[in-house]
Symmetry: C2
Subunit: 418 residues, 2 copies
């Protein structure tokens, strides 16, 4: 047999992203429920933040020039008390106002002295000594210094996180226009797969293994904001497979399978997808994760009406890593996220990797207490222990060895999973 | 007024964690639903992984000594075909077996040759030429090489992520014993707070601001695996506050408020918590985030029966950062997570920070394309733009300036939020 040409990971990703357009639909949801969703419209502030000049501290609002007119440390009467939520009168001449964090600055005051820098000297008449002279503007948050009216505070395409929800709420947005959750149909393939719980470990037949890919793929899809329908094992004949795939395609944006995409494997998915649409069987120059299938299942004669199809390799680690590196960007782009690439950081390795591979490698590593990276001893793609023990991947270029002390590109699993 | 003594962040965290014991309850849930949950028991493998010697490639299983007995490149008949899930017969002498990834190695075979290294030379009789001579054990995954029977694959206290769910499933676990979700009651305090949606930006009164803390705190709590009850604004009199807090305490593990914890602020929460239990009003030497309240609300006379109380500062960024640095570890410990500390990475800064602060600072920064860190121009704690623009924090020690090119401790938001 001839060795099929290998595609680089970058080329595979570029081809895949070129075929994926953002979902056209939008929906309005409560800002409370929008964590992890992607904005379908800019969030524009209809107010300035802060809306008014306010105090950054608990203390006293003062007019700085009043303080300079006294000899020694000034003592001034407290003529007003302004709490957050109150609209104060203008500050009386030669007086100060008790003020709390977030409260509006009275007209005429031009600084706040924090209470730790003041001493109450005359409890009955409310006299307060200013122990540390303020500069003009001290501890005042000026109106609009954080957000100008009309500013885009969150652009369309932003994937929302807790801080973004807070920012949207701070400019008054109770609801947000977001992209709907991508609908993903999950299929497994492989006669050897047994569901945990259906057969005990002691009763497992030789040749059988537990289906683990379904578990992490479902969890990864949910983390990516998807609505998942798990169809279980692909039916074991052509007609039923055709029927299952076309029925799933009409209700989903993506059909995701694992297993059955290696060159020599015989299963019903590949010919069925080819019959229903298009299928590219890629051999990607990456390790783990070589075989990868990408295509579409057409719905009727409208060329714009189809579901995407992705077939991941069956080995758990290969399946996990190709999900992170290829399916994650696909799902972000489907949701209209403006930035899908991750930025690696350069970290020192505390191990040797003396044998270069012809393929680009993704080694499972963990950061140690000295700021370096340790390698998991078993880089086998057959079991997920390396991905559980590790906290990220070293992205090692093809043909490259690594020496202790080298700086390498590290991708944190947390960045993929956030 | 005297300046209250500042507590270091490390001391505050140590005191807080010393007061928090893991929840004693456990529950059994489906492995499918366990993402983000914490294991209450070790997951022990009752099988070895792989369960049997199997092929890592699609190709041909061979007996290496058979190949050496021929002159030139050996051509051997294919005597069997082993797909994944099948239990094969022993390999016949002077023959090879077609084999697929994951399929059991026939007895007698001691290597697999990948199909790209073979040529079918005699279609009718099934003769295959081995083009590249294999080494013994090549492309064979040996039984137990990934997981030994009886091994702890996931220790108690592990916070589960998608890969961990896959690993648990791969050893046959359909259900897992986990710690129940911490039940958190969320209160807001502040007369100035207005809910988004209840008043339009144009109609906001001077002194009013939108409540944004509720939105990000709720989202952060959910990401930390909590069940959240949002009680809204604290009632504005003492009796109702006492009633609300004791009622919430009986149904929740933690009562979380934001606002009302500064030295000078008057609200009903502080005296109510003091009356119902204990309250420490800390001034933490950190910026942003100085004021922080930690205590408990007792339930009856049993000293072990209480709800934790945490009062965060009202400024959004202070509230956000104290949540990440103090409440997150508290919630992890409450769930019995074995490791609650984050590991910073050392990254280069591409900015100057010429003015040292007396407090330890957490600067909002973003990684740039050159592997360095950029600073958000507005480090105000009044608005969340810095936490939205940024992708993490620089942990800058008290009294320290930063020069362009320095390496500093960087904490990624993704690590906090995963």
């Amino acid at each position: 047999m001839t060795r099929p040409a290998l595609l680089s990971l970058d080329d595979a990703l570029a081809q895949l992203l070129a075929s994926v357009s953002p979902l056209g639909r939008t929906e309005s949801i409560s800002t409370f429920d929008a964590d992890g969703r992607v904005l379908a419209e800019d969030v524009i502030s209809e107010l300035q933040v802060p809306a008014f000049d306010n105090s950054a501290m608990d203390g006293y609002a003062v007019r700085v020039s009043d303080l300079h007119s006294s000899n020694g440390l000034p003592v001034l009467p407290v003529s007003a008390r302004v709490a957050a939520g109150q609209a104060p009168q203008a500050l009386q001449a030669m007086s100060i106002a008790r003020i709390f964090t977030g409260a509006p600055i009275p007209l005429g005051a031009d600084a706040v002295v924090m209470q730790e820098d003041c001493t109450v000297v005359n409890e009955c008449e409310g006299g307060v000594r200013i122990d540390v002279m303020p500069k003009i503007d001290q501890w005042i948050r000026r109106a609009g210094e954080d957000v100008q009216k009309g500013a885009v505070v969150l652009p369309r395409g932003t994937r929302l996180d807790p801080a973004a929800l807070g920012l949207a709420a701070s400019v008054g947005c109770a609801n947000l226009q977001v992209v709907p959750r991508p609908r993903v149909a999950l299929f497994s393939t492989g006669d050897e797969l047994v569901m945990p719980g259906s057969v005990t470990p002691a009763d497992m037949k030789v040749g059988s293994i537990y289906n683990s890919n379904r578990f992490f793929l479902r969890a990864l899809l949910i983390r990516m904001g998807c609505e998942v329908t798990d169809f279980g094992i692909v039916p074991d004949n052509r007609a039923a497979t055709l029927e299952a795939l076309s029925s799933a395609a009409s209700q989903h944006d993506l059909i995701l399978t694992s297993g059955g995409v290696s060159v020599g494997e015989e299963d019903h998915i590949k010919p069925a997808v080819q019959q229903l649409g298009e299928l590219n069987l890629w051999q990607i120059a990456m390790k783990p994760g070589k075989p990868f299938a990408f295509g579409k299942i057409k719905l009727g004669s409208d060329p714009h009406s189809f579901a995407h199809f992705v077939g991941l390799p069956g080995n758990p680690v290969s399946s996990f890593i190709t999900f992170l590196l290829l399916v994650r960007p696909l799902l972000l782009q489907l949701q209209g996220t403006t930035s899908v690439a991750l930025q690696p950081v350069l970290l020192r390795v505390d191990f040797d990797w003396p044998k270069a591979d012809k393929r680009r490698e993704f080694l499972r590593v963990r950061r140690n207490n000295d700021g370096g990276l340790d390698l998991f001893s078993n880089q086998s793609s057959g079991v997920l222990t390396s991905a559980v023990w590790g906290d990220g991947l070293v992205d090692n270029p093809a043909g490259q060895t690594i020496k202790r002390g080298d700086r390498v590109s590290y991708l944190s699993f947390a960045e993929f999973l956030k």
